[in-house]
């Protein structure tokens, strides 16, 4: 309270309107399905398995204040305040994957040998705001 003389802010006339700004956005940040087959990339000749691959993805708006819901650090809210109050050129927090699961792939190498490999971080399983 830098200037105590100032009258305290009047309570908002319509509380429900006031709280609406803190509600979660309609299209909030969440995990979306996406499934591809390697034949769409014309790779079925050398990627033998799996036939289908669902990498999933994260999409949606991040709530202004809701850090806790996505396991977001406090920095996320700070970044939002910077964007809203100080410098709009700083981007708002984005909806990004927070956790992944691996994928096993069976491929034919250029020399004709066959390799089974397990790759880290190939399927998004959880989203967060950062």
């Amino acid at each position: 309270d830098e200037n105590p003389k100032e009258a305290p802010a009047a309570p908002p006339s319509n509380l429900s309107e006031y709280f609406k700004q803190f509600l979660f956005p309609q299209n909030e940040c969440e995990l979306h399905n996406f499934r591809l087959s390697f034949s769409q990339l014309k790779w079925e000749k050398w990627i033998i398995a799996p036939h289908r691959y669902s990498p999933q993805y994260c999409k949606g708006d991040c709530p202004r204040a809701g850090g806790h819901r996505y396991g977001s650090p406090v920095h996320t809210m700070v970044q939002n305040i910077i964007y809203e109050k100080l410098d709009p050129s700083v981007p708002k927090p984005s909806c990004v994957p927070a956790e992944y699961s691996p994928l096993s792939v069976l491929t034919i190498e250029p020399d004709g040998s066959i390799v089974y490999k397990e790759y880290e971080d190939m399927i998004a399983t959880k989203c967060t705001c950062r």
């Binding site: 790779w43 699961s101 096993s104 250029p110 004709g112 040998s113 880290e120």
Partner: protein, 304 residues
């Protein structure tokens, strides 16, 4: 981008790309670190798709020799045992490998058959080229994989004796290498089994550990009818032709891109709800048991 200070995660910003891959003319930031030579099956083509803006023909240009159909059948079977239909690796204690490579011999040099009366059915020299094994892939187990053609009905079990010998490959003379040293295996093949794995780990470990690119071995398999366990006399040879074996390497890929199951097992136990830190250093598979130090106590206090 590096110009704005530290990269988000201290993973090398470059991706490892295969030397023969046409994608090497990539944005310099994506150039692989100097030491990287060979690529991972999946990354180069992904990079190619990203660098081929607009084109639809994402056909991976790297020509691929067609693998042996039996080998393909075996690896598909291994895939089904190791991963779900969606491609998620199955969690199992015995499954410590995250990479399995199957090599078919690039050339074989037929030995003359020794006296058939002793049942010496099959001896052959094989050359395996292991160029695709990367420096970060550590050998866990290696086997010679024999496939038996079970279309021929065999009345009784077969007993085989296998002699294996490896020789420094003398490039000057293309003549088959002579025997350097050999190890005898005896294996008991049930009639119905299609595949027989002969464990040669102890044999090949020193060669693969010294990053040997070409492995030249002479394999001599003698199979006879009858079953020594039931002291039936070993009679005449089975007369069954053996297909030259493939070499199977079970490896632990220690690179960032590979899936380290002990890492995720350990991580999910400690703090399941917090998303994993991307640049979390690889956890020692033996765990940090016993390293009780002040930092450890502070961390456990913090966790409480």
């Amino acid at each position: 981008p590096r110009s704005r200070g530290r990269v988000a995660s201290d993973k090398p910003s470059g991706l490892v790309v295969a030397a023969e891959d046409p994608v090497s003319e990539l944005n310099p930031l994506l150039r692989p670190p100097k030491g990287a030579r060979r690529g991972y099956a999946l990354l180069p083509p992904l990079l190619k798709v990203l660098s081929d803006r607009g084109h639809q023909n994402w056909e991976s240009e790297v020509p691929r020799l067609q693998p042996d159909s039996r080998a393909l059948r075996y690896m598909k079977r291994l895939y089904k045992m190791s991963a779900t239909k969606e491609g998620i690796p199955k969690a199992s204690k015995s499954h410590l490998y995250n990479t399995v490579r199957l090599f078919t011999p690039c050339s074989e040099c037929k030995h003359r058959h020794s006296d058939l009366a002793k049942g010496d059915v099959h001896s052959v020299d094989l050359l395996f080229n292991l160029d695709r094994v990367t420096a970060l892939e550590h050998l866990l187990k290696s086997v010679l994989l024999y496939s038996f053609d079970t279309s021929v009905p065999i009345s009784s079990p077969i007993t085989c004796m296998c002699h294996l010998s490896v020789k420094e490959h003398d490039f000057s003379s293309q003549v088959c290498p002579s025997v350097a040293h050999s190890v005898a295996f005896s294996l008991h093949v049930e009639v119905k089994r299609k595949w027989v794995e002969i464990d040669v780990t102890s044999f090949l470990q020193p060669l693969i550990a010294t990053n040997r690119r070409n492995i030249h071995m002479a394999v001599n398999v003698t199979c006879l009818m009858g079953d020594p366990q039931h002291n039936t006399r070993l009679e005449n040879p089975t007369g069954m032709a053996l297909v030259p074996p493939s070499l199977l390497l079970y490896l632990n890929d220690t690179s960032e891109q590979a899936y380290h199951r002990w890492n995720s097992l350990r991580h999910s136990r400690t703090n399941p709800e917090r998303p994993r830190q991307r640049n979390m250093p690889l956890v020692d598979p033996m765990g940090d048991r016993g390293k009780e130090n002040s930092q450890g106590k502070r961390a456990s206090r913090w966790r409480r």
